[in-house]
Subunit: 355 residues, 2 copies
Amino acid sequence: MPNIGGTIRVAVTQSYDVIVGSNLLEQVSDFVSAQEITILADEHTQTYAQRLADAVQRSSRTPLLITVPAGERSKTLDTWGQVIQQLSDAKLSRQAALIAVGGGVVGDLGGFVAASYLRGIRLYHVPTTVLSMVDSSVGGKTGVNLPTGKNLVGAFWQPTAVFADVDVLATLPAKEFLSGTAELFKAGLIRDYELAATLLADWSQSAAPSIIADYLLRGIAVKAEIVAEDTFERGTRAFLNLGHTLAHALEGASGHAISHGVAVAYGLVFAAYLGKARGMFDYTDLAIQFLQWVGESIELPPFSQLVPYIERDKKAGPGYITYVLLEAAGQPVLVHDVTESEQRRAYASLQEVAL
Amino acid sequence: MPNIGGTIRVAVTQSYDVIVGSNLLEQVSDFVSAQEITILADEHTQTYAQRLADAVQRSSRTPLLITVPAGERSKTLDTWGQVIQQLSDAKLSRQAALIAVGGGVVGDLGGFVAASYLRGIRLYHVPTTVLSMVDSSVGGKTGVNLPTGKNLVGAFWQPTAVFADVDVLATLPAKEFLSGTAELFKAGLIRDYELAATLLADWSQSAAPSIIADYLLRGIAVKAEIVAEDTFERGTRAFLNLGHTLAHALEGASGHAISHGVAVAYGLVFAAYLGKARGMFDYTDLAIQFLQWVGESIELPPFSQLVPYIERDKKAGPGYITYVLLEAAGQPVLVHDVTESEQRRAYASLQEVAL
């Protein structure tokens, strides 16, 4: 159906398709069979949401359009409760569908709304950023933040379908395009090393839509494979967290002022140094090259400020922390015995190459 | 393992055991392997929770014991958020387990906490009422109420095991024992009619524990079968809602002053009348007999006050409502074309026999 791109099947308990291509937005309405439709968007994506709503309206259904403020500040229990209340006030039934049009915040928030309203209604993702296309819209993770940390409340709820329209990436702010690429780069590092190795040569916001779609499909294929292996993150799904232990700590310590993609770009360099110091696979040069390509300078706080966040990481257990490291190109492992001094040394190395 | 009673396997995506017997409470700690344990209870069940906590402590683990006020007023987003925050403040990891010790409110609230904290931790139910043993602790439904209705927010999250200790029923307030039996009676009506037909002759709070355990096991077997057939309530699981359309409306209109079991007892008589008037299976006598056995008088509001609640029922769709009716003993069907005048006539019949 998409004239460029293709379709990837994600096999979990319920399987669903992630459709990548151009000119998809107008076709979403035809795919969603529900009579009752809610479209969730933020200020940045409401024009897309409106186009989608108009298409729904032309099919003789009246969508409920809900817009939340853009950014992480909407990923809260308060906003989630308000959206749930709007669905309840509109008397939406369990047959309703929710279409989340936006980046990670709208997807995670809308996903948790869909997971929990009447104990679950159908969910469609229309991701509008690189990051949400290759990562957050695939795999069924939904949730909001607590003051004590990111994604501390949520549920696993798989979408019925995901529509990734590459056309919307052309107008994405350049910063967001660059930083969002971090999850695509990471997907390559953990399972398709050639993707990571060639990405920077081929990939740019002005690249041909077919090239962009091809890379997205490869990144999504990595995510889909890992989600199929470990839907509820009891094991190998944690590999997707390469670079994320430090990334989440940086985000937390900055009060979420740093974007997730930028934080991951720094976290990947940190993880590369941790592994190199252990004599594991050395991809520090590639990770640094990627960080420079992202080109976003942040203030790196003293490591001691990050320790409480690292200890509270979701991969941590009682008395231990967990890092994802690479033992070979495309081969991640979970490591539970990284010491604080190892972390401090890797962090010092990161500080030296930081922008 | 239990010296009376037995074990029923619930087969869903993950399967788990519901263990019914006496003297189980002290053994729960041995079953739960997690190092980090939270026990959730309410004021009425905190002595049981404390016994369980003491057993956990003897196994060199320090449980986090959380007590919420008793009753429906704790089944709110506020309380849920507070409990989640306590888990987060205690830095509990994804390896932690939550044990919910109590009736339906503690089970539903604790279940939603376990479903959503870090996107899901292990959950054990220790139901302490008839109603929660035969109904709410089995099947993975969790959730809280909104001002606009019951259970409007929640998730499906299956427990790792359920421990139903019949000893705790002996000290249950008589009213609660009687009204809680409504779900057991209903389980019989929809799939084990002999259970419903013989229940009142054999079942009482002073009956031998082995008799109580046998009836509980039969009721749980019905629930387990239906949950295995339709885990996410897309079809036959709605049969468990026999009597519940009116019951939820009565509860809502009373501001949740009426207990769920009592509401169901009235709802079952109403459903019996609806079916009888359509020439379907006539079990009005048995349902009235059961209502009298429960013996709880409530104020039945004018039907018009119930209509908004009935329209908002979770089984309703756009422009239609759904009733579960019996076409034969133990054989429920979903009916979508019940008119308002049919409902009014059945309600008038209910008012005539009401206590």
